[in-house]
Assembly symmetry: C2
Homo-oligomer: 347 residues x 2
C-alpha cells in the first residue's frame, strides 16, 4: 500500500523558485525508503503573474489549491508591485480562505549559528501566531482620502471562537514539549476589549492543562525578554499582528530571517496547510544561485510533521542542524546547500 | 528678571516617589546659577489613590494640571489594580486630554553601559511616537462578552491632521540632528488604509525637507534592524502602538528600561507636556532605596529642552553619561545616584 501526497507548489518570484527546488529535493530525500510518493502541481502566482495578467489569486485557482494535501510557497513580490496588492490579494487571502488559524513559527538557535546577542543561551521556542483574525482581517477603510480631512481606520476583530481554537492548539503544543510552558502575549492594559477576551480565554483553557505553566507578557515587554533572556520562552501564543512582529525579532536573534520557517496550519484539515520560508523574494540576489534554502528545508520539516511523519521531520531538522554546525566560511550555492541537506537526510 | 516654572509632580506608586525626588534634585542642580525658579505642586494620583477613593483622574485635577508649565510623573500602578484601569483612566487620559501628540523616546547607548547585543555600534536615535491616535484611541468594544459568541473589536483611528503634525515634528527633529535621517515605520502592506495615509503624508512632507534622507521599514523588519544594526537609526517616526513596541526594544538594547526616558510632548504648548521614566512602579523593589533614578534624570533633561533650556538639558545628559561611565560594581542607593548626578550637573 502506498500513500501519495498531492502537493501544490507556488514557487513565486525572486529567489522563491530557487529555494523551492531545493526544498523539494530535501522532501524527496526525507521520503526515501517510505511508501509515500509526492505528486506536485506548480501554480504560477505572484508578482510576475500580476504584471502579466493583473491577477493575484483567481477563484478557479483557489478551488484547485483546495484539492491538495498541502502547499509549499517560496516567496512572492517585487518592487514593481504596489504595497498591499500581493500581501492582501494573495498571501493573506490564502491564509483566510484556507482557514490557516495557526501560524506556526519555530525559533531555534542551532549550534554554530551566530546571533546578534552576546549571550543568547539555549533558544528553542515556537510562536503560535493567530492567523485569521486581529488587525489582519482587512476590516479597515478611509474617507476623504488624500485631503486634509482624511480619516483612515483599521479594525482588529477578535472572536471567542477564533481565540479559543488557537489558544487550545498552543496549550496542546506546550503540553507535548518537555518544558510545558506557555507565554501569552498581548497588550490587555491598552487594548482592553480584545486583550481581555484573550486573557479570559487563556485562563479558562489553562484549567484543562494544569501541567502547563502559563505566564503573560505585554507585547512591548516580550520584545525586551526576546533580547535579554530568549531562553525563557517555550511556546508563545499571540495575536496576528503581535505574532508578526515578535517572530521577525525571534528570527533575528536566531540567525536571521534567512533561516526562519513557517507553517500556515489548518489543524482541522478542512483545507490544505501552507508551508513557506519567512524571508521574501529578495530580488537583489535572485537568479544568482546564492540564496540559502535552509528556511525552506525547515518549512519542509514542518510539512512532514503536519502530514503525520514526525520522524522524517526530525531527520530534516537534524540535517539542518548538522549542516549549519559544519558550515565553514566558503560560500556555497543554493543547490550545494540543497544537495548537502538531501545527502544528510537520506537514510 | 526671574522666570518661574510651575511644575506639577505626580510621584505615583512603588519606586515612583523615590526616583522623582532624585529627578527634582537634578532639576534644581541644573537650574543653579540661572534666573529660573521651580515651583512644584504634588498630585496624589495612581494606585493608592484608586484603592482609597476609586478615582483615577478627577476632572477638577485635570483642570489644575492644565495650569502648569509641565508635569513630571514617576510611575503608577500596583498588582492590585485591574489591568487597564490606570493605563486608560490616568496615563492615556493625560496623553489624550493634554494632546501629547509627540511621544518622544531617545535611545542612546552611553559608553560603559552594557547591551545584550554583542556589537551594538554607536546607538543614538530618537523615536517620535504618535501619542493621540492609532489603536490607542480607546475606540473598541465587545459584544456577547464571556460567551462562546463574543466578538471584541479594537479600532485604530488615524487622521490626516494627526499624522501630519507628528510627521512634521519628526522631520524638524531630523533636520536639526547631524545625520538628518528619518525612518518611518508602519505596516502598510497589511494595514493598507492607515499605512497609506502615513506613507502619503511622509512623502508629501518630505518634499519640504530635501536635506533629510527618508526610508521606510515595516514594523517587523524594524525589530530586526534594532538588533542587527541599531546604529543605522537617527530619527524614527511611527504610530502609537508600533512606537510602544519598538521603544521597549530600543530600551532593551541600550541598557534596559531602567535607563529609558520619555517626554509626552504637546509641541503647540496648548497644554503642559509630561516627562516620565518608561519603567513602571516596580513594586518588588519599592521602598528599599535601590531604584535607579537615571531614567528620571534623562526625562528631566527632556523637560529642560522643552522649556527652552537646551544647554542645561545637555549638561544633565553629560552628567548621566559621566556617571554611567564611572559606575563600578558596588551598588549605590537611589539617593546616592541622585546626589552624584546633581553634583556633576552643578556648574
Ligand atoms: C508579507 C506579510 C503579509 C506577512 C505578514 O505580515 O504576515 C509577512 O510579514 C509574514 O510574517 O509572513
Ligand atoms: C503603561 C502603558 C499604557 C504605556 C503604553 O502602552 O504607552 C507604556 O507601555 C508606555 O510605553 O508608556
Amino acid at each position: 500500500m502506498s500513500r501519495s501526497i498531492n502537493l501544490a507548489v507556488i514557487p513565486g518570484d525572486g529567489i522563491g523558485p530557487e529555494v523551492v527546488t531545493e526544498g523539494l529535493k530535501v522532501l524527496d530525500a526525507a521520503l526515501d525508503g517510505t511508501d509515500v510518493k509526492v505528486d506536485t502541481t506548480t501554480y504560477d502566482l505572484g508578482a510576475r503573474r500580476w504584471h502579466d495578467t493583473g491577477e493575484t489569486l483567481p477563484d478557479s485557482t483557489l478551488v484547485e489549491l483546495r484539492e491538495h494535501d498541502a502547499i509549499v510557497l517560496g516567496a512572492v513580490g517585487d518592487p514593481g508591485v504596489p504595497s498591499g496588492v500581493l500581501e492582501r490579494g494573495l498571501l493573506l487571502r490564502l491564509r483566510f480562505e484556507l482557514d490557516h488559524y495557526v501560524n506556526l513559527r519555530p525559533s531555534r538557535l542551532f549550534p554554530g549559528v551566530s546571533s546578534p546577542l552576546s549571550e543568547p543561551g539555549e533558544v528553542d521556542f515556537v510562536v503560535v501566531r493567530e492567523g485569521t483574525e486581529g488587525p489582519y482581517v482587512g476590516n479597515g477603510g478611509a474617507l476623504r482620502v488624500d485631503t486634509p480631512h482624511e480619516v483612515a481606520n483599521e479594525v482588529s476583530v477578535n472572536t471567542a471562537f477564533g481565540v479559543e481554537r488557537v489558544v487550545r492548539d498552543a496549550f496542546a503544543r506546550a503540553q507535548a514539549r518537555p518544558r510545558r510552558k506557555l507565554t501569552y502575549v498581548h497588550k490587555h492594559n491598552v487594548l482592553v476589549h480584545a486583550g481581555h477576551l484573550w486573557r479570559r480565554t487563556v485562563e479558562r483553557v489553562a484549567q484543562e492543562y494544569p501541567d502547563v505553566a502559563v505566564d503573560y507578557l505585554h507585547v512591548d515587554a516580550a520584545t525586551i525578554f526576546l533580547v535579554t533572556d530568549p531562553a525563557r520562552f517555550d511556546v508563545i501564543v499571540t495575536d496576528n499582528l503581535f505574532g508578526d512582529i515578535i517572530t521577525d525579532l525571534a528570527a533575528a536573534i536566531t540567525g536571521g530571517i534567512g533561516l526562519a520557517a513557517s507553517g500556515n496550519v489548518n489543524p482541522d484539515r478542512s483545507a490544505p496547510s501552507m508551508f513557506e520560508p519567512v524571508h521574501g523574494s529578495a530580488p537583489d540576489i535572485a537568479g544568482q544561485g546564492v540564496a540559502d534554502p535552509t528556511a525552506t528545508a525547515v518549512s519542509v520539516a514542518l510539512l512532514l510533521d503536519h502530514l503525520g511523519l514526525p520522524e522524517r521531520s526530525e531527520r530534516v531538522l537534524e540535517a539542518v542542524g548538522a549542516d549549519l554546525g559544519a558550515r565553514g566560511s566558503a560560500p556555497r550555492s543554493t543547490s550545494e546547500v540543497g544537495d548537502a541537506l538531501a545527502a544528510r537526510v537520506t537514510p
